[in-house]
Symmetry: C2
Subunit: 846 residues, 2 copies
Amino acid sequence: MQKHDPQPEFALITPDAPVKTPTHGWRAKCLQRLVRLDMPVPQTVALPAATVRAIAQGHRIDAHAILAHFGDAPLISVRPSPENPDFGGPATVLNIGMNPARHAALVTRHGAAAADALWLRFIQSYAIHVARLDPDMFHQTTPGETAIREALRAYATEMEQDFPEDPATQLAEVLRSMARAWEGTSARLLRQAKGAAPTAGLGLIVQAMAQGIGQGISGSGVIQFVDPVTGAPQITGRYLGQSQGRDALSRTEALYLTQDPRGPSLQDIAPDVFAALVDHGRRCRAKLREEMQIEFTVEDSQLAVLDAVKVQRSSRAALHIAVALADDGIITQPEAILRVEPRALSELLHMQVDPRGPRDVFAKGIAASPGAATGRIVFSSSAAQASAARGEACILVRRETAPEDIRGMHSAAGVLTERGGITSHAAVIARGLGLPCVVGASTLRLDIKERRLAIGDRVFAEGDIITLDGTKGEALVGAVDMLPPALDDTFRKLLSWADAVRDIGIRANADTPADATTARAFLAEGIGLCRTEHMFFDEDRLVAMREMIFADTPADRAAALARLLPMQRADFIELFEIMHGLPVCIRLFDPPLHEFLPHTREGLRDLAEALDRPLSEVTRRAEALAEFNPMLGMRGVRLGVVLPEIYDMQAQAIFEATVEVNRRGEAVVPEVMIPLVSARREVELVKTRIDAVAAAVRTKTGHDFAFKLGVMVETPRAALRAGEIAQHAAFLSFGTNDLTQMTYGLSRDDAGRFMNTYVQQGVFPEDPFHILDVDGVGELLHIGAERGRRTRGDLTLSICGEHGGNPESIDFCRRAGFDYVSCSPYRVPMARLAAAHLALNDQRNG
Amino acid sequence: MQKHDPQPEFALITPDAPVKTPTHGWRAKCLQRLVRLDMPVPQTVALPAATVRAIAQGHRIDAHAILAHFGDAPLISVRPSPENPDFGGPATVLNIGMNPARHAALVTRHGAAAADALWLRFIQSYAIHVARLDPDMFHQTTPGETAIREALRAYATEMEQDFPEDPATQLAEVLRSMARAWEGTSARLLRQAKGAAPTAGLGLIVQAMAQGIGQGISGSGVIQFVDPVTGAPQITGRYLGQSQGRDALSRTEALYLTQDPRGPSLQDIAPDVFAALVDHGRRCRAKLREEMQIEFTVEDSQLAVLDAVKVQRSSRAALHIAVALADDGIITQPEAILRVEPRALSELLHMQVDPRGPRDVFAKGIAASPGAATGRIVFSSSAAQASAARGEACILVRRETAPEDIRGMHSAAGVLTERGGITSHAAVIARGLGLPCVVGASTLRLDIKERRLAIGDRVFAEGDIITLDGTKGEALVGAVDMLPPALDDTFRKLLSWADAVRDIGIRANADTPADATTARAFLAEGIGLCRTEHMFFDEDRLVAMREMIFADTPADRAAALARLLPMQRADFIELFEIMHGLPVCIRLFDPPLHEFLPHTREGLRDLAEALDRPLSEVTRRAEALAEFNPMLGMRGVRLGVVLPEIYDMQAQAIFEATVEVNRRGEAVVPEVMIPLVSARREVELVKTRIDAVAAAVRTKTGHDFAFKLGVMVETPRAALRAGEIAQHAAFLSFGTNDLTQMTYGLSRDDAGRFMNTYVQQGVFPEDPFHILDVDGVGELLHIGAERGRRTRGDLTLSICGEHGGNPESIDFCRRAGFDYVSCSPYRVPMARLAAAHLALNDQRNG
């Protein structure tokens, strides 16, 4: 089939040739840039994607016409040049043009050994990559006449024809083979997973070989000018004499580039070549506006630059490279912002397992909270606290965690659970605390009584040392090499640039003074969700809580609550002071009361003793509080309506704290949020009482203050009825965790059991507790936002919950006109950067 | 204030007077009808509501002008005449016009005793109802001169003026007092609760007194022509000589009307009067088109008809009266349909506590399933089964019920639980079985171990006899009088009339052959929801279920399921045969697997033995299956996707049963329904496998058959995504129970704890599990229906679940264009009637 294309079928790369990334690929474009920088790039021809596609479909290209650019008896290479380097592509083929005649000439010029090696290598690579013969037949690696003969015979036997000697035939076959490989199913799926369009094409590069073999200084190597892990300026690379391609990287006898105590270096043996390389690198960085790795060849002391690719880099290196480029005026600050992937930031906030070290993984689970920690295994919160008291780092291993494990989690360096998903209790709390956490490691077999942990035939006892990699979701045997966090000036500088362009607010979810301090350190613009229930788990408060729960009359209940009041007030005073006048949104008491009762017989007996009531009564009442579906039970505003004394006490504590902190000089306007609302009247009832409490506090203290009352939208009904709910609410904050649970009818605590299957089978494109479900939950957010704003134009809208910090959620919220998102303190930096990306991309696209 | 009204201020009631119900009230209109029928109605004047309102606002009516209609020295009465008799109104005042002169005249004519009684009675009633003096001051009931003097003195002392003697003054004051009473807050709230508009006015009736006192046969009484409990034709009433008003009804010395062995009757002493009354009654029924109770007076053998009101009636009487009127050609069949309240029908399907008997209520709860039953208390399912085996009726009393109690419930005559709401397990199952059931009787204190039940200081032991009134939600001590069900020809006749006008389908939820038989008996048009999980609780099936649950490989799972296959197939064959070709919609397996495991240590030990596995492993795996929120867990289609062998087996059983029954000559097109869907892909995955099973069964049997695959919409997300889900579904059936749970974030099993408070405080206007929440859940139904139909115009839409039978839900579904509703078999009659009402009302209004 003959294709008629208005474009030329190929182009010699010159400074002025019409080479473009979309048509010829990134490598072709990059090589043209190197040519324009006057670098010693060997003669290169680029085939655009249209030509390559035609070849794949049967078009026979005129290989002689291409070869005409490379002189008599050329040796050439062919490399892939897709639009984006991440899209992959077929393997490079070197030394096309080798045949008996060329071999004879090379024997004469470089000796038999070098010539035999090149000839054998070409036969092997052609047989395997072009003729697709079984690699096992061509495994002979010791070059020589026998090996070459055998390889040629094997080829002829399998193919029923002799090995092609005509360079044009060789080139045409290589091009055809690479073109067709690009169209293969697995290649297509792989590149589409990296974001390639279904129509993405492949360019190809035909380049004269620079041999790296010669009498004088000859060889090949790669060089780059930054450390790939830290991003610090540092020349790294390898050079190997008498070699081709990227061999230097894999061979121990390769030389270092700079002077090195371990042995001779390129700088020692060829200072001029080295100086030229450094100069090329400097110009590359300045003109290509990127840190590049350069592939080079030296032939008889003549330097050739074959290729340049973006330096592979860790997240921290990416950050440092981008900021350094901007600081040097090579790229703009917005460009630097866009060059750092927001999700990558979270790695920088925590210790990380050094990717260069060995890993002995004994269990895999869900990567629930990033970072890494090494410590001794403990199986209970009390053991964790004891370990912390001894100053020993520990990893808390539980079937799952419950609110009573909070103190243990505070004491642990990391948390590993057998059950649970990305928004299970353990995961949420660990992210809040910035602790590495792996959940749902379902192959674990915990024997809590025997204090043993088994996986297959491996057994760990309490006290054994393990390392948790919360970034990867893996548990490793023993201690491993770590990288420290990278919260340095560079990090802060990039985020300050991001804040300058961002157009949506970022707050943090913070329950404790420690959380609030972290939130401030990460420059959160306030607290978007302060969950007050965690405040009641301290030993002394728990007693009063339980008395409140077992109170027989409203008066008894109020008396127990009165004991909690000063503690709550102190909590809020501390939070307000840490936040220095930034907004603090306090969610009123939410969880079901049975969470505050002991779950064991022993605990119930202690409680009966403490309350001086018969065990039978305590047991009966505890049982009566148990619920079939606690998530859908007597919690949130339902408690506020049925036992209004709890919210009364909390409101009083908030308002008295406000007065106290206002008197100390901070202007605090607390935001009070009602959880789990499903009907307007719930809001009315609570609002009436809270207004009354505010009036009483104003009268008692003689001090006026302002506050805002709002609603947490967590039920589908609250979203649907947002229009009438907004009549009584100054703000609506969407609790997307619970809203997702209810929209899907899916408990986050129970979903772990099948979520992997569901995501693997594509039932859900993503875990909806991890990535906001824009189609379902998102529609309810839109409905709620739109109806709420129709009632009240100045309604403040936000989301809190685990989705808050995700770039996808921030994108959604910006488009929906939300005022802010709120997320775990440790996700605030990512959220700030992601918001800046979105604003910049909008500016670019619109 | 003088009001100028175009209407006359009052009207003498004549056959042609412009008296209308909206202006003059129902009583005025009724009296005019009696006048038109030539009945001996005393002279009557009607005041329209506009006049009464003006009086209340201060207008002074010309009482002399009214009195002019009643001759010299009249005695008159004033009665209320609101638009609807249910709206209430102030008390009637008799004998206006009494004063010393009139008293003297009466003494002469009827003797001092009669005259004193009238005079004292008037003073008392004027003082209490008109002057609003303390009733205690006028309690003297023995008439006589002293009593009259004291009453007049007390009046003068309190009012600081003498008792008015001028009849015009008396009348004006009575009218003013009654007009103002109507405007009082509590009167307004009471009538608005009965459906009165805020503007509803009051008419008043001024009527000449017929004395009931005289030398000849004189007295008063009431008569009606049907039994108020059964509706059977039967003259009932009382007559009391020398009396006024409705005194006869409350005095033991009153006579019966018809000849009676217990003593003399009106028929004995005044056969002509009695014959005239019977004739009036006949004409009343024919012309007023209703069974009326007539209030009459006899004065010197002269009959006067004072008033006629609709006979008070039980539900069963209402049914019989309406059908009899239609059968007699007095009203049309549609009118008869509209005269029977759909909700009242459910009373007729069950035994009822006779309202005329004594009640000793020891506990109140939620009226979860109507009807009544007497039996001995049992505290366990096994005791219930033992009791049934002995042929003794029993009442199963539990904290709450679980699926393992089903067999016990089948054996019980009624169910009483401490916990749970209107859609708790106990309630749903009881309604399905037609068993009386009271749930959420939270004052009960059950001691299951001691087999005792305490309420306050009352204690009941196992074996004690109690009666459950599921219609009222009460538990009564001992056995009480009962009324039998009323499933007679009259009942069936009315429903056949209803079916002729109804325009929406009614199916039944039926899980068992017994349910299906009931559904057929009540003329359900098919099964709208057959829950298949109940089929697995029989002892022999449970073993296979548990083997399936503990299977280690898909092959083991399939082997256990293969043992269930023939049983499932037999289930469906039986259902299909009972339903004789009517559609049967089978919901695939839905509940979480842990429901099939034992919950006690002992049960687990038995299971370990049965499965020949270590107890530790069985316990561990049972624990691993436990869920935090089972409602939102691994159930429904999630099981279908993760363990597809279960649905494969069910589909095979359904299709093989279809083939078998088709071969026997019934044309069965089974409907297969996928539960708990939240994403389109779930439907795709299940559909692919079910289509494959269908193909396999077709091949294996050599028999072709059709089936429909549909989706149960129970999650908010499924409603929102109905557009894409309908691509793969022939029908959508909204499971409003679960949809309500998820829309509100409210577990029906846990809501009982606060639902009463919530409804009482008006947070929810109604329990949303009882009455469909049109605002929230209803919007999701609209969204789902609209989006589904947009994808597929012929999509069949329905609701199943507890709301299905409610008139409100049927109204909603008709307007939303649904094809049918499905409800418990025992609610099918109500649903058929309610649907007819809605269709008829639409015809009338449109």
